[in-house]
Every structure is written in C-alpha cells, then in structure tokens.
Amino acid sequence: MILTSANLVFIVTLTIMPFLLIGVIKKIKACFQNRVGPPVFQSLYNLVKLFNKDEILSKDCSWIFRSGPLISFSGMLLLCLSVPWLPLQPPVPGCDIFLFVYVLALIRFFSIISSIDAGSPFSSFAASREATLSFLAEPAFVLALVALGISAHSSDLALIFGQPIENNRIPLSVWFFSGLALFLSGIVELSRMPIDDPSTHLELTMVHEAMVIENSGPNLALVEWSYALKLLLFFGLIAQCFVYSLSKIIALPPLLLPLSVLVVMLALGCLTAMIESFSVKLSWGKNPDFIAYAVSMSLLSSLAAFAMNGGS
C-alpha cells in the first residue's frame, strides 16, 4: 500500500464519511419529526463513549460472542480498503466480485453465530431473521454485481468501479438497474425501513438491533463501527452506479467525479431518511415481496447486460 494522494482521499473519507452519513440520516429524520436531533457526529462521540465503557458478558457466552464483532469490523475494514467505493483505485488492489460477496457472507456468518451464542431469545430469533432476509436478498445483490461484471468483461471490482469515465463501457441501463437493485438489497442488508426500523424500541420487531442486544461497551462499539463502514461501502457502490449512469447522459468533468459520488451518497442518505419518515414497516410476511423488487431490478440489469453484449 503506497501513500498516494488517491489513497489519502480514501482514508480521510473512510474516517469521516460513515459517521456523517449516519448523522445526516438521523438529522433529517429528526427534522421531519419537528425535533432538533442529535449532533451530526453523535455516532462518533457514541463510539468514543462506548470504547471507554466496561463490557458486560453473559456467563453463558463463549469466545465466539466476543470475536464476532472483531471479525465483522476487520472484514469491513478490509473491504473498505480494497473495494473502489470512491471512483478512485483503492489502496489494496485486486478485489474480485466473489471475494467481496464471500467476505460479506463470512462477516454475516460470524455475526449470526455470535448473536446466537449470547443465548438471549431476542438475539436468537433476530439472527434467524437476519439469515432469512440475507438469504433472500443476496441473489439480487450478487446478480446486480455480476451484470456489471458481464458488461465490463471482468470480475475485478476495480475494473468495474473506480474507472475514469472515458474507460467506462458499461451501458446506461445496466448501471441504472444495478444501482436500483443494489439500493433495494442495500435496504435489506443495512436493515433500514421498510424492512427493519432502526429507531424502534420494540425488540420483537427488530432484526439488526435485536441481534446485537447483548453486546455492550467496546464490543458494541465495534458492531456500530462496522455497521457504519457497511453503510459507507454500500452507499459508495450505489452512488457510483448512479453517477456513472448520469455521466452517460450529461458529460461530467472527470475531476468532479469523486465529489459527485460523495454528494450522491449524501443524497442517498436523505432518500433513506425520507423513506424512514414516511413509510410503514412491512409485515414480516411482506418482506419477500419487497425483496422481489430488488431481484427484478437485478434480473433486468443482467438482461440488459446480455442484450447489449450480444449486440456489440
């Protein structure tokens, strides 16, 4: 890893952007409720506070419970450093679509078994919910990335994303539908409304929040931090999809590309906050119907990828 200016931009945004995104979402939600809302960087302050707290452990839990958050945090950090979520080459090169998907699956596996290990009924059924939801949403997510890969003739994420506009051969429709599919499956993966309400206090309806209900102190801090990194990673990829499809219509100056991706990420945060303020959490039985839309978008994207590939 060489400290180039691109890498520096990567690392600086990596430290600030996740907390900014969470803060912006919370602030906008508060605005819709006529509240002032927490300071934008409150989640960062919370992190510091949590790292300074003691940890309470159930007497029944084993090393798996304690290592789960550590594994998910290190996995997320690895992905954030090797996936081009800004349209720049990442500091650690050579991340493949499948490596990306499998590292995410590994993280999910460990967070699921660590929450089952805690032995609380809430975290156990939440783990089962998480497994069900990600099982349903993963095809959409993978297919959307594969469609991009087909159009780019490569499975290397660095050759799909993070390329200068003139090198980019992926057609508009593939970018757009993949972006939509990633956004819809991102809602599921990031446990946002209408699948999961991150601000509820009702344990019985939770997915992500109930999974980490037994974590406390530094352990919880790692969970929160890796969630923030996951948000950044997903929003970065989605934002790039939309920025690249926009660049097919309007000519964007290449220098503005990283900036416009950041702006689109914030806009996605606003959109998420709007959805969260005005939509209703779906009944558990209706979740597959919602995920079906994500699958449809990725199917359309791969159809477009095949059709355009055959044509050219």
Binding site: F125, S199, E203, V280, G285
Partner: protein
Amino acid sequence: MISIIEPKDEMELLPALKQWLQNDEHRLGLITSLDGKQLVTLLLDLASRQAKCWITEFAGDSYRSFTSSVPQAHWFERALFDMYGLLPKGHPRLKPALLNEAYSGIFAPLRSLAEHDEGKSYERDLSYMDVGGEGVYEVPVGPVHAGIIEPGHFRLSCMGERILNLEIRLGFLHRGVEKRLTEVPLTKTRFIAEAVASDTAAANAIASAQAIESLAGLVVPEKAVCLRALALEIERLSMHVCDLGGMAADLGCGAISAAFSRLRGSVFRLGELLSGSRFLRAYILPGGVARDADRYLAEFARTLKPLRKELNVVIDSFISDAMVLERLDGVGVLSPAFAKEFGLVGVAGRASAVSYDVRKVFQNKILPEPRIRFESAGDALSRTKIRVFEIGTSLDLIEQLLASLPSGPIAVAAPELLVPDSIAVGIVEAFRGELIHMISTDNKGRIKRYAVKDPSLNNWTGLAIAVRNNFLADFPVCNKSFGLSYSGHDL
C-alpha cells in the same frame, strides 16, 4: 345507582347466570366478594337501566367455578383466588392474576389480619402453559420493557415466526388500592380512586363519585354533570390521540407519531383550562366538580377549533395511507363470537361487533347522546378505525356540551353519611370501555368493600387470543391496538 340485592342459592347461581347472559340486553358486571364468605355477582340490565346484585353465601373457602360454562367469569375467579384465597372448584386453569411471584402463599390482601393469623395457605400455581413439539420456542417479554410502559410479563410460545400461544402475567403493580379505599376517610376516597389508573383519572373519579352520591342520596347539579361529561370526553380524546400516536410509532411512522404527540399536548391544554390540571386530577368530587370553568370557556372554544382541524389533517394522513391500511388489515383478529362470550368492552369490543357503550345506557339523560359505530372484522384496523371515529364523536360531544352548558351551582355539599347495608355502583364509559366502581356499606354506613372493575380486566383475554397465529413481529401492533391498562388491572 343503588343496586337491587337478591340472595341466590349456591346451587342455582350458575344456571341463573347462564340464563341471564342468554339475553343480549343483559351483561355480567363483575363477580367479587365482600369479605370472603359470599359471592357478589353484579348484573347489568341494559334495557331497564338497572343494576342487580346476587349475593350467594357459601361455607368454607371454595365454590363451584363458573369458568367452564361462563368463560368471562375466569378473570374474576382468578382475582377472587388472589384476593381472598377462595378456590373455584373445577376451574380449568387457575393462575394468579393480581399477585406476582414475590407474594407468599399465605397472603390474601382482602382478608382481615385475624384471618391471616389462622395461618391458612393458598398454593399458587406459577407455571406457564407448556407448548410442546419440535421447533417450538418461548420468548419471554417483560416485566421490564424497553419503552416507558407499565410492567407486565408476556410469555410467547412460537413456532418459527408464528405465535402459537400467549400467556399474560400481570400483577406487578399490586398496590392494595381496594383495601386502601375502605380505610381512608370519605373525603379522601376520590384521590385514591383517581390513582387506580392515572390515564383514566377522570373516569375513575366520576365512577367513584357516582357510587358515593347514590349511597348518600345526593343529586348533582346539572352544570356539574355537564362539566364532568366534558372532562370525560377530554380524557377520551387525549388518550385516543395518544394511542393513535403510539400505533404510528410502532408502525415506524415517526413523523406522524410526532405530530400526534404534539396534538396530545393541545388536548391536555383543554383539560388544564377546564380543571386546572392537565391530567384532570382532583377535579371531580362527590357532589359536583371542584372548579367553575366559566372564565376559561372562551379560550377553550378558541383552542378547540384549530385543534379539530389539525387533528383531521394528521388522522387523515395516517388512516388513509394505503401502506398503513395494508399493514393493519387482518392483524390480530378477534371474532365477534369470542368477543361476546368473553364480554369484551370498549374499543376492542366495538371492533368485534359488541355495540355496548355505557354512554348509551347509563349516562345522565340531560347529556347529549353519542353516535356509536361498530365494526365486525375485529382486527387491528377496525380497532384503529373505531378510535378514529371516537375522536370525532368526542369532539362533537365537547362542542355540544359547550354550546348548551347549563348555569347554576357546580357542586352540592359533600356527603358525610352513607346509607347503611346497601350496594351502589358507578358505571362510566372510560376511554378503554366500561368502568365499574362498586361500593358496599356496613351497618353503620361505612365503606365495607370497594370493588373496581377496570375495562382492561375484560379485554386482556381478548389480546391473548387475538395474537394467536400472528407473526411474532406483529405482537406490538396487536398489543397497541388493544391499548390496555396494567395498573387499572393490577389494583
């Protein structure tokens, strides 16, 4: 009103009760005891607007259980077992209702000290229903909850995401209210009565005042009757708005929930103008009301008009949202047949085709009659619709009461002596449903037994049945759609 007292033999009690309930115009008010040596069955006749008490003396500490033939008696029998240690013979599943695990087996709150010294022991079965089978698991929720609500323990037996059985254990708020009400001087009764359930303060105070006034032979001035009705409707309005806001929050509509809680503040303001207390405390007293609101009425009317407009906007955006309708439709269904059998009251009852409203039957004739609406689907959506409808009704009633407020005194002198050896009841339609206060006096005119029946007592069973076969994640929505009281139940 003073109730008619009829002695009834133990053997003929059950057939007589069954026959009484055959008639749609008849209701079972409550079943309790005066001192553990008899059963008092309070019956309401809706057609002739009368209350009747059957007093059944029996020997020993047990009686024949009604539960198998009259299901709505089961909660009363459990309460009797807790309070007096009376054992219903043949009760299918006797669980504690009012006392939690912390109370020892020799404690029966309404028995006298002398009886406790006899060292009788009442074995309480604290086990939960065991739901067997592969893949069935239990989720214990509470008694300490994540939100700021009262304590109650819910034991959910689930299969995957489906709820197979819900067992509710209450009694964590047992404060000995009924006992205390017999000990305090008559002038202080109202304060304890209000504290039965503080979100129902006005309704409890009115029911208590009605019962005491009947026993003292007082006639309340017309103006006081109207002011009381006004307080009752304000309370209904504020709590329905609060319940709708809670429902919106549970569904995840943060913005709408915030709007509801702001409007609830405006409704509290109405209460403050009327009574001087946002929660309508210490306003209603035996003989009348404590404060004349004449000089605030202009401001009251000024506040009411914009409130109604704003409420309509928020409620419309909530209840006409296709996603909300879809979400609530078919969740937590309670069949009309079940609702009738278990004697459900209030919002939950009216959502399951029980059209009973105390205001139609027992309220003072000078008050305007409310419009009543009932649904038959019995799901969370119908309960929400009924709440929305009742908000409209309450606003109408408040306007009508304001327009035709009689003049005159607001109170007569408080009573000092009560009629000896009689039983009186006060019945009020609280925002949750039928609320009954029953007072029985001894031969010197002192209060011997003060029994309170909160509407929640009828409805908790409804919740336990309604959540069956629903998604585990829908339990909070079902619970909120019933909106029951813990403290009113626990006493």
